[in-house]
């Protein structure tokens, strides 16, 4: 039965292998040079004081030379889309095509029970989808290691230095791709079992998976663990986003999310805003004295001093960097449990398909 599922997955497997090899070749062709740029940047073993400066200039160099920014973006898109693709083209037809063309009657009249037939098909297809997605993710992690290290050292540089909590970074690194791949595959199979036609099953799979991938970072992931709160003072190094409000001479601000939170490097900043000396949030600042000269960029020493002298600080809600792996495990676990639930439903559905 394992051999039959592999035979039936032959076309998909060849496609996946070709795509995987092409991806590996692309990364292997550009990766070593990226690593040599990193080696030449002197970031390895840099003094903490100069690190973030050097990291930023390294990232800017990478950004302006060669295809790295494009490869980086392309890889992220590919890895983020792979679970959906395997769910659509492997999962959805798995049962739908058999039911649509009537070949289930051929399969189910061999000397193999229906439950075993489904179990093997689900296992082989699901593991293959997970393996392909995770292989892409690991290849990319190897390629992007210099960029991640530079970002970790506090470097900033457009899209190249994503925080590890950035939704696009979170879903393409670590173990979450395993969960998404398993879930999208199981979702495709279930949609196929319910709808019994391949194309509509693919459409439904895509719609549900996309909706979930949008809902997850917006509403679920931030609430998996209770957030931490802190209040920090404003210094001339703090990067603020300033917003003018309706009434004149008032404004409010948030901490720029790519700015690092003092004492919490790599933290996932959920929200931030002005607070008074006691740490209570204030809705607007009336800074007749501190009217910001430049409305958008950094506050500058004058603004920082002015705000600080009036007792205004920044209240920040965040997830510390140490929550990265617990969040990865939890989210992957959620998706794997959902996948198993869908698989279980498929068994029930198939035994009742009669």
């Amino acid at each position: 039965m394992i051999r039959l599922s592999m035979l039936q997955l032959r076309v998909q497997a060849i496609t996946a292998a070709v795509a995987l090899i092409a991806f590996a070749v692309l990364l292997a062709a550009t990766g070593p040079h990226l690593a040599s740029l990193y080696a030449a940047s002197g970031l390895r073993g840099c003094q903490p004081a100069s690190c973030s400066q050097r990291a930023s200039s390294f990232l800017q160099q990478v950004n302006s030379t060669g295809p790295y920014a494009t490869v980086d973006l392309l890889s992220i898109i590919i890895i983020a889309l792979t679970p959906a693709i395997t769910g659509l083209f492997w999962g959805a037809p798995l049962l739908a095509r058999e039911l649509e063309t009537g070949t289930f009657a051929l399969a189910w009249s061999q000397s193999v029970t229906r439950a075993r037939w489904l179990a093997v098909k689900l296992t082989v297809g699901g593991l293959a989808a997970m393996a392909v997605t995770e292989a892409l993710s690991l290849l990319f992690a190897w390629w992007a290691a210099p960029l991640s290290r530079a970002a970790g050292l506090g470097g900033s540089g457009n899209g190249l230095a994503m925080s590890q909590f950035n939704p696009l970074a979170f879903v393409t690194h670590g173990i979450t791709p395993l969960g998404y791949a398993a879930f999208a595959f199981a979702l495709g199979v279930t949609a196929g079992a319910l709808i019994q036609r391949t194309i509509p099953a693919m459409a439904v799979t895509l719609a549900i998976f996309a909706a979930l991938q949008i809902a997850m970072p917006l509403w679920v992931r931030p609430n998996l663990f209770p957030a931490s709160h802190t209040t920090v003072s404003i210094t001339s190094d703090t990067t603020l986003n300033l917003y003018t409000t309706d009434s004149p001479h008032t404004f409010t601000f948030t901490l720029a999310t790519d700015g690092s939170l003092a004492g919490q490097p790599g933290a996932w900043i959920r929200s931030s805003g002005a607070a008074d000396a006691a740490g209570h949030p204030v809705s607007t600042v009336v800074p007749s004295a501190c009217s910001p000269a430049a409305s958008s960029s950094g506050p500058g020493a004058a603004l920082a001093n002015c705000l600080t002298s009036r007792g205004i600080r920044i209240a920040v809600t965040y997830q510390p960097a140490s929550r990265y792996w617990p969040l990865q495990w939890t989210e992957t676990g959620i998706y794997l449990v959902l996948s198993l639930a869908l698989a279980g439903y498929c068994f029930r559905r198939l035994s009742r398909l009669s």
Binding site: Q8, T101, T103, L106, S109, T113, S354
Partner: protein
């Protein structure tokens, strides 16, 4: 009597519609059984219940003494060629034989290869590009090479041209002679079955109307024609299946185990087709009478 298929009060409903209802049946082993009935009589439903593709809503069915599809061992003993002979159109002929070998412990590879070469099928050809007849032959090869005790075929020749039809049935008969297996095949055309079957089951509106060995059925049914008379005056033991009367003449199709002795009758044998048609039209007349009875009852 060892029954290859024994059904009792068997019924299958889809939502509120009964596709098969109150079906009671026992088919002895060692026969090539024709299951005949009009479209929508429940033939496909009965065969799918017998292969375990469907589970009954009511009643029970056992095949070779076990619940259909009860486990790998039971599945191994029943071969099934479903309606429209489904095959994997993207896989080659050789892939299909491989599939059969992988999934069936009792697979007879020699038999499978022999049949494929006899049929002059190219093993490397995609099954999707086979003709209807070749496709049916491939499906039959898969079902035969697993060496089943019972082979079930659902309208296997319905979509084939006359030549392919004859070749398919010929191949089937050769295999039956060689393997000594029981066969149950359905058709809505008696002509297809006449050549191959030695046992007949007529199913109309989900009820078994008559079942028995073909030779017995032909010996016990007679077409009588003679001067008009009241059917009630027939001797006991002569059951009227159909009757038609003109002013002067009566034409009857009767079932009786003994000889027809009344000299007033001209007695003619019946063909299998006449016999099946007679039971079908009787069932239809019964069916028309039924709704009225139901109305009274409700």
């Amino acid at each position: 009597m060892n029954a290859v298929i024994a059904a009792s009060g068997l019924g299958k409903a889809y939502r509120r519609t009964w596709a098969l209802r109150d079906c009671t049946l026992a088919i002895p082993e060692g026969h090539v059984v024709g299951l005949v009935g009009p479209n929508g009589a429940g033939k496909t439903t009965l065969l799918r219940l017998a292969t375990g593709m469907l589970t009954p809503t009511r009643g029970t069915v056992s095949v070779l003494g076990q619940r259909p599809a009860a486990g790998p061992a039971q599945l191994a003993r029943v071969g099934f060629v479903a309606q429209d002979t489904p095959i994997y159109s993207r896989m080659t002929v050789a892939d299909h034989l491989r599939l059969g070998a992988w999934l069936n412990p009792g697979w007879d590879d020699h038999l499978a290869r022999q049949r494929i070469s006899q049929l002059a099928l190219n093993p490397k050809q995609r099954a999707g590009s086979l003709s209807g007849g070749q496709r049916a032959q491939l499906a039959l090869t898969l079902a035969l090479a697993k060496r089943p005790g019972l082979l079930i075929l659902d309208e296997p020749v319905a979509s084939l041209d006359p030549l392919a039809r004859r070749e398919f049935l010929q191949g089937l008969m050769e295999a039956v002679a060689g393997q000594g297996l029981s066969v149950l095949l359905s058709s809505h055309l008696v002509a297809d079955l006449e050549r191959v079957c030695d046992y007949l089951v007529v199913l109309v509106a989900s009820r078994v109307r008559v079942a028995g060995e073909v030779s017995d059925l032909l010996a016990s049914h007679h077409r009588l024609s003679g001067p008009r008379r009241d059917p009630g005056t027939l001797p006991a033991g002569q059951e009227i299946i159909t009757e038609s009367h003109t002013d002067k003449q009566s034409n009857l199709l009767v079932r009786t185990d003994g000889p027809v002795l009344d000299p007033a009758w001209a007695v003619k044998p019946v063909s299998l087709e006449d016999l099946v048609l007679a039971y079908m039209s009787r069932a239809r007349d019964d069916g028309q009478a039924k709704p009225q009875q139901l109305k009274v009852a409700s």
